[in-house]
Amino acid sequence: MLNRQGRPTAAGEAGTNAHPTFTGNKALAQIEPLIFEIGHHETTGVDLDEPEAFTPRLGGLERKEAIGLPGLSEPEAMRHYVRLSQMNYGIDTGLFPLGSCTMKHNARLNERMARLPGFSDVHPLQPVSTVRGALEVMDELSRYLVTLTNTTTVALSPKAGAHGELCGMMAIKAAIEAKGEGKTRNVVLVPDSAHGTNPATAALIGFTVRPVPARDDGWVHVDDVKKLLGPDVAAIMLTNPNTCGLFENQVVEIAKAIHDAGAYFYCDGANFNAIVGKARPGDLGIDAMHINLHKTFSTPHGGGGPGSGPVVLSARLAPFAPVPFITAENGVLTLVEQAKDATEQPFGRMTAFHGQMGMYVRALTYMLSHGSDGMKQASEDAVLNANYIRASLADLFSQPFGDKPCMHEVLFDDAWLKDTGVTTLDFAKAMIDEGYHPMTMYFPLVVHGAMLIEPTESESKASLDLFIAALRDLAMSAKKGETERFSGAPYHAPRRRLDETRAARTPVLKWTKPAPFAEAAE
């Protein structure tokens, strides 16, 4: 390999002491200012011609003041956002074992399909006769979801998982009111291990939350549920597989007890990805379950959205599904935006249009690619990978509910870190230095110092072996008392540990122009 002058370099010539750089940059690690610090209000990266003179019809409400928006030319903008992206960790960067979040591979075929103009460039309110293919996608996706879950129908429109929970609970509330029990049934049972969205959702629409206490084996027991049931209970919100990484082994009995008491079974489907093709939630007795298309069916998480949370419904709840929905009339699909007859009792509308079409296309592409055999294999591999990690770490890490098979994620606690001076948080930050995204930590709340690891089916055995070796090395280091490796971590990330307390105490939530000479005055 020759350099520009034709002179070969050798590693031995390199000095060992790095000089602080003038720019503050470190080669590929670039410092990037805010757009407000580099942009200008006159600069634009979009060429537009000023319209010909005309008389405005704004009723004298024209903006007079400046907005305060900087612009960047196209090359400047490209560089700004590329540099920002390089400070981010994604699935494509490395193993992303964030438990309960299912960071599996995002196939680019799905992106390409979502960008077909026939899907991306159609308006939700253009004539139905011009969007037959879009309705076909929604209908086909619905058919897959209903088949995979053995339910009756699906409400596609919820915009994310929590929005799906809201939709499902609204359907339950509507069903209860239709039976004339709206005044009396106002309690929802929620296990302590549930996602925070569950109690928040129930409370949002006026239910009182009655916690189901955690047991020391990680399962919800039918006896505990029965004790809490009564004529005031509207529903249970149960996550299955649960947030401890276990399949609820009494779920069928729990469903029966709930139904016998005249209540409904809402299942949080965040972890459906562990059992696709292995078990159908409808066979377990659920009445409603949201499905995070961005988890199970691999639509990209995008740094926090957009998600998509369709809700499958049992026959008991199907009549209450919100608008809009799709029906077939004489074999032709049509969109129902208002209830037409008495058999339909939609509880209302969740969002302005038809939900996350862009996500439907991606999820359906995933389903067609995998097929029934591939989806089943994906679930099995996800569960296999999690158990492989469990088995490979069980001698060093402690498990709160004993060493037993898990589903797609394995839960450890921090008992094994006792007296090491290393916390779950420190351990997670040290994983960053090793090139890994940390696992989910301190969730579920029922486990002390929880570490929830979900490798997904996207990891190869070689990748898992290196991950396991790295975690074992970190664990040995912690047990040997090498606390500095943890307490100061991360050392090698774009930022060191950030002061979250300061951010919350004196919130700075937007950029403001520095006062001139402010520094000189200090």
Binding site: G59, D121, G196, T197, F247, G371
Partner: protein, 446 residues
């Protein structure tokens, strides 16, 4: 299977390490009568080429906005998005990252959220904006709930100019939460007496401008009356582009500003994903729903950003949270902020003027067609026309002639007796030829 790296040899070795014989031993907690023995009755796996064929066949049955003269709006708008935007949002590090819970390796997401919040606050004329909501309609529902928390009252007044689907979303949420809603009758010409509905029992007044019929509304008097009675003014927009040309809701006295940001950076996508914008005054920030990004410093003293004020949120507060919301519209909000950065102040204002100019041109041309009456005195890039025939029928006939003309009001408000009204939008994408085609086709149909 191209997405699954494990080989059968791997699987065998891994099962041995785990100490079980078959993978089904790991599923032993599933009752055996429920455990599926064979794959479900769905097609088997397919290669890329075959999947592309199937999806493309369905896509081809739709009429894309770019392929015809296109004037459909009513809450979602066809705009041109620069190529740079779509390239950048597909960067792996943005596309495949999670909510930035580990800020040391998520500064890219956090910095653009901070920039986005600053842009939205500036546009709306408010102190503070959150990191986005699902869309404008769900954001409006959240704004009403927030107003109830702030005022400790539970009655919302909705203007008759609010998008009917937004009304439905608010009413659904309010009915479920046993809150009161007073929804005024559809108000085509912005003549409703909102002031008369405001009294000491009202928590908030929700007013859209430009309203669903296109009218530009002055909010000042409504803000004053609301504040006299201890109520909040929630200003809603469905076309964010209008803020480039119109006075900001904040400058007119709004307490919460919420709306749809799809027009900047985001495709039509048949209704989603979109991006809800949400802004308010500093004093209400702790009652705000959704994610917030804030500035701080790291252990070396370098500036950095984190998610903050999370004690409002469900993962901490559970049933006492300000909202059950868990995500924002990450990638759509990235698309918004990139497009807005490319436009800048100068570009946004010019683009808004082009939109308005095109709509004025179209309104004047349509007004010259027999059987068409333009109802608006004021508008931005969308207005209402009264036709000599039912609008739904006219729209279908025009679609057959290859013109997508707009949204019949009867589709949004069936049974309201507004069957001859049509909402027509015009943006920078429309050319003189588009307008000529619309006018010619309309003359034939009417």
């Amino acid at each position: 299977m191209r997405y699954l790296p494990l080989t059968d040899t791997d699987r065998g070795e891994m099962l041995a390490r785990i100490g079980v014989n078959t993978v089904d031993d790991l599923f032993a907690d599933i009752p055996s009568n429920v455990l599926l023995k064979a794959p479900l009755d769905l097609p088997r796996r397919k290669g890329e080429l075959e999947v592309e064929r199937i999806m493309s066949r369905m896509a081809a049955k739709n009429v894309p906005a770019s392929s015809v003269p296109f004037f459909v709006g009513a809450g979602a708008y066809k705009h041109h998005v620069p190529a740079t935007v779509d390239h950048l949002i597909q960067r792996s590090e943005f596309l495949t990252s999670y909510t930035p819970y580990q800020p040391e390796i998520a500064q890219g997401t956090l910095q653009y959220l901070f920039e986005f919040q600053t842009q939205v606050a500036a546009l709306t004329g408010m102190d503070v904006a959150n990191a986005s909501m699902y869309d404008g309609s769900t954001g409006t529902g959240e704004a009403v709930l927030m107003a109830h928390r702030v005022t400790k009252r539970r009655k919302a007044v909705l203007s008759g100019g609010l998008h009917p689907h937004y009304v439905d979303v608010v009413q659904t949420l309010s009915k479920m939460a046993s809150d009161d809603v007073v929804a005024l009758a559809p108000d085509v010409s912005a003549t409703e007496d909102l002031l008369a509905s405001i009294d000491d029992s009202v928590s908030c007044v929700v007013v859209q401008t430009p309203d669903v019929f296109g009218n530009v509304r002055d909010l000042k008097a409504i803000a004053d009356k609301a504040h006299q009675h201890g109520a909040l003014l929630i200003a809603v927009f469905t076309e964010v582009m209008s803020l480039g040309l119109l006075q900001s809701p904040g400058s007119m006295g709004a307490d919460i500003v919420v709306g749809e940001g799809q027009s900047i950076g985001n495709a039509l996508n048949f209704g989603g994903p979109y991006v809800g914008l949400f802004a308010t005054q500093s004093k209400y920030v702790r009652q705000m729903p959704g994610r917030l990004c804030g500035e701080t410093a790291d252990a070396d003293g370098n500036r950095g950003f984190v998610l903050t004020l999370s004690t409002r949120e469900q993962h901490i507060r559970r049933d006492k949270a300000t909202s059950n919301i868990c995500t924002n519209s990450g990638l759509c909000c990235l698309a918004f902020t990139i497009h807005m950065t490319l436009l800048g102040e100068a570009g946004l204002k010019r683009l808004a003027r082009i939109n308005h100019a095109n709509a004025v041109k179209l309104a004047d041309q349509l007004a010259g067609v027999k059987g068409v009456e333009v109802l608006n005195q004021t508008f931005f890039n969308e207005f209402t026309v009264m036709l000599a025939k039912p609008a739904a029928e006219v729209v279908e006939r025009l679609a057959e002639k290859g013109v997508l003309a707009g949204v019949p009001v009867s589709r949004l408000l069936p049974g309201a007796g507004l069957d001859r009204l049509l909402l027509v939008a015009s943006t920078e994408v429309n050319t003189d030829d588009d307008r000529a085609a619309f006018v010619a086709a309309l003359k034939e149909v009417l």
